[in-house]
């Protein structure tokens, strides 16, 4: 009798624990999750997903450099029973591929990469579409015809944004040029502020950026009385007057879908690319100086992107030196968009 009840209790306990077995999910960030930029956006996605998917538990590692350390961290997560690992920085790709081979039961999701393995998929979102839309507001508001772009390192994601931004601006004002200043580091607010000042002194009257945190540049623009297009997160409160619009991430829904599919067993290895249509990237709110006419123009183009009728990388696309990359009527294949290594005509700067 006693023995039976003990058995029953054990059975019940086992049932409860299986029912409540949480899927442990690990996140790895290259910087602090509070950078108000790239890592912040990924972490917001984590929190959203944790709230919306049942029975998951997340942990995160911050400030893991894109070197040998990340391999150790991934192995440690895999060994500690983590079933899903989000490797959220571009430079984690090769280490993730290595570790994925060793732990076939763990699902790896890499952000931004373009290589796959049986248990490794990638996710990203075409934020360059949004930068194109934001570029329209820049092209419409510039008086000098000179735009400025402050960026950290010449990697494909950054080059895509600069080119998209420039082409957006050129769509309303073909004479527009974008001058690029590289800071050589993802985060150095003093250098970014000085780069902003240098651009403004050279006659630039709209700034945009691709660095970890937009704050220093947005504030410098406001102080100097020029317009600014934000990136990563809504920084409009830092430039109540000069803010035009920004491009922001919205990872929550995508991460939720990915984790749900893993739990259901329907996950397969693929390159997932979110878009304006799926809501994974979006425009932030507009600043006061953006006219209704410009807003309508942007809305129309947004519709064209969402419907897929008029993709961003449709020709003609011409390089800085005049070489044609995609002729009129053709579209750049996504594989070469993801490896972009050139500036379009109208961008002043070097990609080396």
């Amino acid at each position: 009798m006693k023995f039976k009840s003990i058995l029953a209790a054990i059975g019940l306990f086992a049932a409860i624990t299986t029912a409540y077995a949480e899927t442990k999910i690990g996140y790895i960030y290259v910087g602090p999750k509070t950078d108000y930029g790239y890592n912040y956006a990924q972490d917001q996605g984590r929190l959203y997903m944790e709230k919306h998917v049942k029975d998951v538990k997340t942990s995160y590692f911050e400030n893991i450099p894109e070197n040998a350390d990340v391999e150790r961290v991934m192995e440690r997560l895999a060994q500690s029973g983590y079933k899903v690992i989000f490797a959220t920085s571009y430079g984690y790709l090769d280490p993730a591929l290595k570790v994925a081979k060793k732990y076939p039961n763990v699902t790896f999701m890499h952000s931004g990469g373009f290589k796959l393995a049986k248990n490794l998929g990638t996710y990203f979102a075409d934020i360059d579409d949004v930068m194109y839309l934001a570029g329209i507001s820049a092209g419409a508001s510039t008086k000098s015809g000179k735009l400025g772009f402050i960026a950290a390192h010449p990697i494909p994601q950054v080059l895509r944004n600069i080119n998209a931004f420039t082409r957006g601006a050129q769509s309303v004002n073909p004479k527009v040029t974008t001058t690029v200043v590289w800071t050589g580091t993802w985060s150095d607010p003093a250098k970014e502020a000085e780069a902003a000042n240098a651009l403004i002194d050279s006659g630039v009257d709209v700034l945009s950026m691709h660095v970890d945190s937009p704050i220093a540049i947005v504030q410098t623009a406001e102080k100097r009385g020029v317009h600014v297009v934000g990136y990563h997160a809504d920084a409009s409160k830092f430039a109540p007057k000069g803010w035009l619009v920004g491009a922001a991430w919205n990872w929550g829904p995508m991460m939720t879908k990915i984790v749900e599919s893993i739990e259901k067993g329907t996950w397969k290895s693929e390159n997932i690319r979110g878009s304006l249509a799926t809501g994974d990237v979006k425009l932030t709110k507009f600043g006061p100086s953006v006219t209704d006419k410009t807003k309508a123009l942007i809305a129309k183009k947004e519709q064209a992107f969402v419907s897929g009728k008029d993709p961003l990388w449709a020709g003609p696309i011409v390089k800085q030196d005049g070489t044609v990359v995609a002729a009129e009527g053709t579209t750049m294949p996504s594989a070469s968009v993801e490896q972009m290594n050139f500036f379009v005509k109208g961008v002043i700067g070097t990609v080396q």
Partner: protein
Amino acid sequence: MLDSSAFNISDLTVSSLRSSTPILLAILGETLTQRVGIINLGVEGQMLVGALAGFAATLSFGNPWIGLLVGALAGVLMSSLHAGLCVGLKANQIASGIAVLILGMGLTSFYGIPYVGQKIHGFHHLLSAHWQTVPILGTFVSQLTPTVIIGLIATPLVGIWLYRTRTGLIWRSVGESVQVARATGINPAFVQVQGVLIGGFFSGFAGAAMSVDYTRDWVENMTGGRGLVAVGLVIVARWNPFLALPAALLFGGSEAFYLRLQTAGVAVSPYLLATIPYVVTLLVLLVSYYLANKEGGAPQGLTAIFR
């Protein structure tokens, strides 16, 4: 094709001053510290602590002046660790400075998290808008912020204090020889503690100048090595506060310059351009040693550490 508007002389001067100011303040403080015979490699850590404390205080009190003051005092607090270790316990100064550096980096990254993405109100323009229309002077004055002016005023004051006052003389004599100073009735340990703490004050202020005035932003490790470079620039300035400004401009100016080269469309790798500040500083360091014919100008008390 080069766009010459990028090298407008008054713009370049203003931007050089702006990016040199935190370094200038740090050099001034470290000069005083080294003048009493102590080297402090922890300047970077003290700047970070000053930057965070200054930002936090500005956020809670709504006044950037309070922020600057709190930042400076936080620098003093951090440097007291160095003072305690080096003067109190006679620890190796390089090692102690690096301990301060590591702690400052760790503590500010850790406790700075809630301040990322916060908005503070910095200083207003120094002069009203119609001044900005005055050519040359207009751009000059309208873009200079309070900390730039404070740095420019502090430089000669520190110089005069060090070379023209009695206490300045006492400090220098401690830096030359602790034994001789003690023989003349000076308490060298007391002077050395003061020298380290005033260095902490300046470097904390320098950090706060970056977060409260220059960028109005807090980001972890936002000083990006400027504190370490400042320690080196003290030597370039030959431990002379009057030379702190040219030394700071050497680095800050070449940083501003290489960013400006890019706006002019110079097609050289930005990574090669970014070596300019370090190459220039190294070259001037070599030249200054060459001219000073080995160790000249260094407080004698310091040479013992470097041997």
